[in-house]
């Protein structure tokens, strides 16, 4: 354990941010990670709990008290090993994980939790700098092959685990770059894409083959789903060519807002808007990029995707940015006695909000209004909730100026046509149907076809995707070899 009385002596220190005016000028990361000695002091706050709630609060079950202790003792080399033993990509989670571990941390009961995420961040950044992250190719090959469909965190984690277990892994991605939403979703200012490139390089050295621009199965739809595929491979082909297939295509079907005027120009899904910027940031040329520059922007949807739209709009140079949330404003502080160690429902203010944004709660969109086929305003109404039912407040209609409307109301499900191409059964929410049981988990109704990540569990988090990828890898390994030494 670190320092027995550390938590009494030291206060929590948050990671620093660059000032707003400076960070708005670029798409680069603006979080300033903890310095090594700061991280050590922060890890000294860890009490090495007998029942470390953080450990079960973290979806990949990072062995947090152990790496905290190692950091405290200045043993970073072993700290990264402990961290990597449960998490393939700490540089992703150390940046963009909402850190449910910290909500669960015992110190959070009546104090500020240990800054677990910032410590994780510090460990992995140091590890990369020191050159400690090196390929770990398998000592022997199994001769079995696995196709991974989708290169988001779920697919990547699974691919890495499977390759290390000696399987021949090929990752298929319909878009032109690897990474899933990490690449084309999450803005660069939250996570620069070089982190993905480094991992891809490592994984290639471990034997993973990547094929971008290849769509597997079919993609029905209205072209609103990002698809930069150059070729298509049929589902049957894949099941024929590989000993096992993992579907990790995410949950890309966005939720729409069928209000009058929806067909007007200037109304876009967040996932049309955000990927374009990521592409441009990557140096690609793009014709007709959706831009917020000089516009009054309204973002509909109060979640993280909405936040990313806010941050990106501000960087474009929007005149005003307003974010709508249907639900009333959540309480500023949770009642920890009844929420800890679980993820509490409370008002969260993101770094993008701090950069300038009006937030409207309990508001609903009645109509999009426009001129010459272009959106110019939104008609809204205030809403109230009584016994779980939403009612409009009479006479509260309001018209707000809007040149760009971004729909960020989450995702309904995976794209159905992809699952259908494989004949995979869907659950009630349209996700690929498979359990997470230790035996027979992640396997769909179709022989040798597995599912993981958002495609199986629905819209979720990067850290959950990594967990699912790892666990699915174990299931596949077991399926192929009869038993598996991969951790769950």
């Amino acid at each position: 354990m670190g320092k027995i009385t550390g938590f009494l002596e030291y206060e929590r220190l948050e990671e620093g941010y660059e000032p707003v005016d400076k960070r708005l000028k670029s798409y680069r990361e603006f979080v300033i990670g903890l310095k090594e000695d700061e991280a050590r002091i922060q890890s000294a706050r860890c009490m090495d709990c007998g029942t470390p709630f953080c450990n079960s609060g973290c979806p990949v079950n990072n062995i947090i008290p152990d790496f905290n202790d190692l950091v405290y003792r200045d043993d970073w080399r072993n700290a990264i090993d402990v961290l990597h033993s449960t998490n393939n990509f700490p540089e992703f989670t150390g940046r963009i994980c909402p850190a449910p571990c910290e909500a669960a941390c015992t110190l959070n009961v009546n104090d500020d939790p240990v800054g677990i995420k910032s410590i994780e961040h510090a460990i992995i950044d140091r590890a990369w700098n020191e050159g400690w992250v090196v390929p770990q190719p398998p000592s022997s090959k199994t001769g079995r092959s696995v196709a991974v469909v989708g290169s988001g965190p779920a697919g990547l984690a699974a691919a890495q685990q499977l390759a290390r277990a000696g399987h021949k892994v090929t990752v298929f991605e319909k878009n032109d770059r690897i990474g899933g939403l990490l690449r084309y979703g999450i803005p660069d200012f939250k996570m620069e894409k070089s982190h993905i490139d480094r991992r891809v390089e490592q994984m290639e050295a471990e034997g993973v083959a990547f094929r971008t621009g290849v769509l597997i199965g079919a993609l029905a739809g209205d072209g609103k789903i990002t698809n930069w595929a150059r070729e298509t491979v049929a589902a049957e082909q894949l099941t024929q060519d590989f000993d096992a297939v993992l579907l990790a295509g995410g949950a890309e079907q966005p939720r729409d807002l069928p209000a009058p005027g929806r067909e007007l120009d200037g109304i876009h899904f967040a996932m049309e808007f955000l990927p374009q910027q990521n592409k441009v940031t990557a140096g690609d040329k793009l014709k007709g990029q959706i831009t917020a520059s000089g516009k009054h922007v309204i973002v509909i949807g109060g979640g993280d995707t909405g936040s990313d739209c806010v941050g990106t709009s501000n960087r474009h140079g929007a005149v005003s940015v307003t974010q709508f949330e249907l639900l009333p404003m959540p309480p500023e502080h949770e009642n920890k006695a009844l929420t800890w160690p679980y993820w509490p429902y409370k008002l969260r203010t993101s770094s993008s909000h701090e950069e300038g944004c009006e937030r409207e709660f309990a508001i609903s969109t009645k109509e999009f209004m426009g001129e010459k086929g272009k959106v110019t305003a939104i008609k809204t109404v205030r809403v109230e909730f009584k016994d779980g039912k939403m009612i409009e407040v009479p006479g509260s209609e309001q018209i707000l100026k809007a040149d760009l409307v971004l729909l960020a109301m989450g995702f309904v499900s995976p794209v159905a046509s992809v699952l259908e191409a494989f004949g995979v059964d869907k659950d009630a929410r349209g996700n690929a149907k498979a359990t997470t049981e230790a035996t027979g988990g992640y396997l769909t109704n179709v022989d040798k076809v597995f599912g993981a990540g958002d495609m199986r569990r629905g819209q979720s988090l990067v850290v959950w995707a990594i967990r699912e990828g790892r666990q699915a890898a174990r299931a596949i390994d077991e399926f192929l070899m009869g038993s598996s030494a991969l951790p769950r």
Binding site: I4, T5, F7, L8, E9, Y10, E11, L13, E38, I41, Q42, M47, D48, C49, G50, T51, P52, F53, N55, S56, G57, N61, I63, P65, D66, R73, N78, D81, V82, S85, T86, A104, T106, L107, V109, N110, D111, Q136, S139, R164, A165, A337, L338, W340, P341, Y342, A485, L486, P487, R488
Partner: protein, 970 residues
């Protein structure tokens, strides 16, 4: 070792050939055999060292060769004391834990404290040695030689055939795994070690035997279980509780407890509607909280439990270590707590950090008062305030081992309650110095019943083989109540080498107790409580079915109060203020009585639901109905398959009219006590505080004289009466426990002599014993009182003109005594008070003494040889003037110079007993003084100094406490 590819099936052949090889080796003239697993490698798996050892040991015994051989075990598997103990117990003359030693060599540099490898190894060996002697002492074995091969173990979860063949003579009650499963376990471990699990490539398994890790060993208290329990207790939502119970009952089913392997025999035809089952409010009255002392948990946590238990009509337990008078005095006087009274208004703002308002009629009194070997704070008033007095014979989790409270946790307040010095660590070693036989226990029960005549007397036993017989003895010794405390540890599903505790699960002990008591027709006279890791209604029902009238809970109500199983209790850094004495942390305590009340009602509600399914209306009808339990069908775990519960679930063969649960009260014979007369005669004193003088013959059939009188007096006058208000003069021989728990205001003046336990638990009264007028010998050379005199005395005075037997003033914590000589072990474990010995002492004087002072007249100049100076210093007596001039008054005992105190006590002794020895000493005071030695415990000296320093800096500290985070900011 044998080739891995033989698999687990290969183990028997290898064991057989090992045994044969051993015989050959001995016959060819070797006499030391080394059993080693050092050469294990990827292809060769090691047989568990214990199995190999025991197989060879037993084989050699059978062949009559054992005494010609020395067995040495060289193994990588021995790490913890328990491992060594088991190896020794099954015949290892020597053990070489090479891997542990190599590990230390490899890591010594990283260990704190600048250790050399040699020093690290030295420390390790020393620690193991200490642990072993602790284990041996608690088993009553004094040499390694007699421990070696003594097999004082019970196997849990091993097949009888396996035990018969390789561990013959060891008890195994419920069957379990065979030799192949043991080998399978070894093979699996081997494969994990040599496998290519990437996680384990460069680090060890996260483990989790002692602390929880998601991938580690399973624990009952998972984070989810803790969270759900707390949320349900705080919100009052039964649904949330059911989620909790589901997790626990499921876990329990996942083979972590014996009861997890049971199932109810449900018969839909028998089920009754829920409303026909007695209400939850009746069931919760059967609940008690465990003996958690104030000291191990905070005042806030402790008193909150008490309030909660009193609200539901259950019982909370003081634990060892006394109780603040403020928690019960008003209640005993009939002054109820009013609505809105704050906890701090009851027990004082200076001792409460997290305050809240109470309800009308609340009570902070712990209904169960514990009496442990340490006897800390066991005063007459303490006992009188009890509904139940619990004699702690052993503590479930560490049977045979006493409790320990580190000095850091002995705050001023705790010290006050325990009548000990703040800052001085307190040990309660296993033995009660007044219980060496069942007769002694009967005597203690009698003593306690006399003082606390309205309380029931309970004896807490630990579940182990033979506990049924002990419980029957306890019932015959007139205990009203018995607790069967289990440990909760491994079953057949844990690797058997990892069953780390002594003692057995309560399921075993309880079933045995029930069966024995019913067979002997004793069950109706005694109430039975089961205790140990009880968490849910299911546990409660199973306890009932196996024979419990009542159920004790410890951890679960603490969790309901906010405990989050930090397992950091010993560090005093509990962040939720439950198990700490640190005021800053205690301020964070958020538990409230209603949380605990909610929890217990939920448990009872769950129990009711099961009772309804079983068709049982009243809990009484449930008790002992083991026939309603069934072994779970299809016990799936590969290691659990061989378990056999038929003995556990056996129904004793007794006629229907024999009681299966408690129906009658014990006859303690109190109405025949001499004290009944004394009380009658003392009425004017008891009622009006008038002085009374009583003359009475003393006969040794009258046991425990003065105790009932004291109890009665304290009920009327909690602070006692003025000195000598009741003066009882007696002549003859005092029976056992003469003057036990004598209260302030009473003097027992005995002319004659007295038996064992005179002045036991003295609580402010005075006991004087002087020889009969006909006695012509030299009083200073003759025994006048028996053994174990003044054991646990907290206050008062005793003058004995003559020599006392063994163990004089053991655990004395506050009284003053003068005696003219003692037997062996005088003043052992003394924590406070003053003892004057005017003559020769026996051996081992002052062993374990941590407080108080003894002044010994060193007649022959040999005292230093008879005194155990491990914890004390012997000092020359200084004349008062010299002491004042040369010593810091801070370390004066009782704030006075030694000479003043000593002289006063000897003068009193003379006055009370007419002692010639005292006269002589006083007549030649200066010369005598220089022959006295002062026995001064090191700990006491240190604490006196610190106490003083603390007082001086109190102001500074108070300032520092104003801010929660006093030190460095990052």
């Amino acid at each position: 070792m044998y080739p891995l590819n033989w698999g687990s099936q290969g183990v028997e052949a290898k064991l057989a050939s090992l045994c044969a090889e051993a015989v050959d080796a001995l016959k060819s003239g070797h006499n030391i055999l080394i059993i080693t697993d050092r050469r294990l490698n990827r292809e060769h798996v090691a047989i568990p060292a214990l199995l190999a050892l025991s197989a060879i040991h037993q084989h050699l015994v059978r062949e009559g060769l054992r005494t010609t051989a020395g067995l040495v075990v060289e193994t990588g598997s021995a790490r913890e004391t328990h491992h060594f103990a088991v190896l020794a117990g099954f015949g290892a003359e020597a053990v070489h834990p090479y891997l542990a030693l190599e590990t230390l060599t490899a890591m010594h540099a990283e260990l704190p404290g600048d250790l050399s490898a040699e020093k690290a190894i030295y420390n390790y060996i020393k620690a193991i040695g200490k642990g072993l002697s602790k284990i041996m002492s608690k088993m009553g074995i004094s040499t390694y030689m007699s421990y070696c091969g003594a097999q004082i173990f019970e196997a849990i979860g091993l097949k009888p055939e396996l035990v018969e063949k390789y561990f013959s003579g060891t008890a195994t009650q419920i069957g379990g795994i065979g030799v192949f499963e043991v080998a399978e376990e070894a093979v699996r471990l081997h494969k994990a070690a040599f496998g290519n699990d990437p996680v384990l490539a460069r680090m060890l398994d996260a483990g989790g035997e002692y602390a929880w890790r998601t991938r580690g060993e399973e624990h009952m208290w998972t984070p989810d279980a803790i969270a759900k329990l707390q949320h349900s207790a705080r919100s009052g939502k039964f649904e949330t509780y059911k989620e909790y119970a589901q997790i626990i009952n499921d876990q329990s089913r996942r083979h972590m407890t014996l009861r997890g392997l049971f199932e109810f025999r449900l018969d839909p035809a028998r089920a009754i509607p829920l409303d026909q089952v007695e209400p939850a409010s009746a069931i919760v009255k059967r609940f008690a909280t465990g003996a958690m002392s104030l000291g191990s948990i905070s005042t806030e946590a402790h008193s909150t439990l008490a309030v909660a238990m009193n609200r539901i009509g259950g019982k909370s337990n003081t634990g060892e270590g006394g109780e603040d008078k403020n928690r019960y005095r008003n209640e005993l006087r009939g002054i109820p707590i009013a609505q809105g009274t704050k906890v701090s208004e009851v027990i004082g703002a200076d001792v409460v950090e997290a305050d809240y308002e109470l309800q009308a009629g609340d009570s902070l009194r712990s209904r169960i008062k514990q009496v442990a070997s340490g006897r800390f704070g066991v005063t007459t008033e303490y006992l009188v305030s009890a509904d139940q007095v619990q004699i702690k014979m052993a503590q479930g989790a560490k049977p045979g081992e006493g409790g320990q409270l580190p000095g850091g946790k002995v705050s001023d307040y705790i010290g006050k309650l325990r009548h000990s010095v703040p800052g001085v660590g307190l040990i309660s070693p296993p033995p009660h110095h007044d219980i060496y036989s069942i007769e002694d226990l009967a005597q203690l029960i009698h003593d306690l019943k006399n003082v606390a005549s309205t309380a029931s007397i309970s004896v807490k036993l630990v579940s182990e083989v033979g506990v049924g017989t002990v419980a029957a003895g306890v019932a015959k010794a007139k205990a009203d109540h018995v607790v069967i405390a289990g440990h909760d540890g491994g079953t057949g599903a844990s690797p058997w080498s990892s069953i780390k505790h002594a003692g057995t699960p309560w399921e075993l002990g309880l079933a045995e107790t029930q069966q024995t008591l019913v067979l002997n027709r004793l069950r109706g006279r005694i109430r039975v409580q089961a205790d140990g890791q009880m968490k849910t209604g299911r546990d409660v029902v199973i306890a009932g079915l196996l024979g419990a009238d009542e159920v004790g809970f410890a951890t679960a109500p603490l969790v309901a109060e906010g405990c989050i199983m930090m397992r950091k209790c010993h560090l005093n850094t509990c962040p939720v203020g439950v198990a700490t004495q640190d005021p800053v942390l205690r301020r964070k305590f958020q538990g409230r009585p209603e949380h605990v009340v909610n929890f217990f009602f939920f448990v009872a509600e769950e129990a009711r639901q099961i009772m309804a399914q079983l068709g049982i209306r009243k809990f009484d009808d449930l008790i002992g109905r083991a026939d309603l339990l069934d072994t779970r069908k299809g016990i799936e775990h590969w290691k659990a398959r061989g378990l056999d519960f038929s003995r556990l679930l056996h129904q004793p063969d007794a006629p229907a009219e024999v009681a299966r649960y408690q129906v009658e009260l014990q006859d303690h014979g109190l109405d025949r006590a001499l004290d009944v007369k004394l009380i009658e005669k003392a009425r004017p004193a008891l009622e009006k505080g008038e002085k009374v003088r009583i003359m009475q013959d003393a006969r040794n059939v009258n046991r425990t004289v003065g105790a009932m009188l004291s109890g009665e007096l304290i009920r009327h006058h909690p602070d006692g009466l003025a000195d000598n208000t009741v003066f009882v003069q007696m002549e003859g021989t005092g029976g056992q426990s003469f003057g036990a728990f004598l209260a302030r205001g009473i003097t027992l003046y005995l002319i004659g002599d007295a038996n064992d336990y005179t002045g036991k638990g003295l609580s402010g009264g005075r006991v004087v014993v002087r020889p009969s007028l006909d006695f012509r010998g030299d009083a200073a050379k003759n025994i006048i009182v028996g053994n174990t005199v003044l054991y646990g005395a907290t206050e008062g005075e005793a003058f004995f003109r003559g020599v006392a037997g063994e163990r004089f003033a053991v655990r004395l914590s506050g009284a003053s005594a003068v005696v003219e000589g003692t037997g062996d072990h005088g003043c052992e474990y003394m924590t406070g008070g003053t003892v004057v010995v005017l003559g020769k002492t026996g051996r081992n004087f002052a062993a374990g003494m941590s407080g108080g002072i003894a002044y010994v007249f060193d007649e022959d100049g040999q005292f230093s040889k008879r005194c155990n100076q491990t914890m004390v210093a012997l000092e020359r007596m200084l004349p008062a003037a010299e002491q004042t001039a040369t010593q810091d008054p801070a370390i004066f005992h009782c704030g006075q110079t030694d000479e003043v105190q000593l002289r006063r006590l000897i003068e009193d002794h003379y006055r009370w007993t007419g002692s010639l020895r005292a006269r002589e000493i006083l007549d030649h005071w200066e010369a005598s003084l220089s022959r006295f030695l002062k026995v001064f415990p090191h700990e006491y000296r240190r604490a006196l100094g610190e106490l003083n320093a603390r007082n001086e800096t109190a102001a500074t500290i108070a300032k520092a406490r104003e801010s929660d985070k006093p030190t460095v900011k990052a």
